[in-house]
Amino acid sequence: MAVTDEQVAALHAQLAGRAEEHKRLLQQLDRAKANEGYSALVAAAFFEAAERRFIRAGEVADKAEVIDFVGSIRARAEENVDLIDPEIAERMILHVIGQTSNEEVRSFDAEVAFKHQIILMAALVGEAQFSDEELDAFIVKVRADAEDLFE
């Protein structure tokens, strides 16, 4: 199994807003394993959170809604607006909701894509304002999705 309990705990701490605990747990992760397992967890969490935010009752959001979301999180980032490239962020979300091709997203540098997934995932989950129970259920779901990637 490529996803470990430690990786899940690190993600859980981040999404629950426990920054110090998240940092400590992240530092304790086995780097080689984290490259696979933790990356898969983040990807699954981003995918799930983006789907929930931009596909509601089967209705897929239009591009304007995606532009609005990315513009909002960048504007809130104050001096860190340059951390997110709006074109990359928008295309990654549009890819999740089936509005852009795989090729466009595959052309992104893996490290840049991972960085954008982390920021977008955190913003999407923050906006969702999960209760503790909802966050627990979300984590169970994304762990299962991430593990599916390795089967």
Binding site: A64, I67, G71, S72, R74, A75, V81, D82, P86, E87
Partner: protein
């Protein structure tokens, strides 16, 4: 391309006026007369000048970077499919560059004419609708844009002369 031969004239001012008025017929007529690189450079200098004047008038001196980010996102949402060729980061960076943003780290793309020209035109068009409210503000806007374009072309001509001067002349000038 001979910058020394570029001159901002009445046609360029009229072209900016037609652009701002959405007067496609006049614009096309003036555009068809711009058959040389030098005439086209004058026109693009005029569009750039209008862009600079509009951005400064709307955002300077109290702007924030998040305000620019939000404004560009709103512009792209308004334009819909027409905004497809607008690169958001290039658009933001062009505006931040004009405003002298000291935090501007990435200047990716702001020298790429395929990204820059649509961005300047879209921003100019949208902002002019905000800052030009009547005939008097239109006249003032065109005058300020002509003044800026003339200064900008003159600066380019100075750079070109300096680059072309023989080494001995540049040494004497520096002494």
């Amino acid at each position: 391309m001979d910058w020394a031969a570029v001159k901002i004239d009445d046609d360029h001012a009229a072209a900016l006026r037609a652009f701002l008025d959405g007067d496609v017929e006049t614009w096309e007529d003036l555009y068809s007369r711009m058959t040389t690189d030098e005439a086209a450079a004058g026109y693009m200098s005029m569009i750039y000048a209008g862009f600079v004047v509009a951005v400064r008038r709307r955002f300077s001196p109290t702007y924030t970077t998040p305000e620019i980010v939000r404004w560009v996102a709103d512009l792209r949402m308004t334009l819909g499919d027409d905004g497809e060729q607008l690169n958001p980061r290039v658009t933001e960076n062009l505006m931040r560059d004009v405003l002298g943003d000291p935090d501007l780290r990435s200047d990716d793309g702001i020298d790429d004419p395929y990204a820059v020209i649509p961005a300047q035109c879209a921003v100019l068009s949208e902002l002019a609708a905000e800052v030009v409210i009547d005939e008097a503000t239109l006249e003032e806007f065109i005058k300020d844009s002509v003044d800026f374009a003339e200064q900008w072309v003159s600066a380019r001509q100075g750079q070109t002369r300096e680059a072309a001067a023989p080494e001995s002349v540049r040494r004497n000038a520096d002494a």
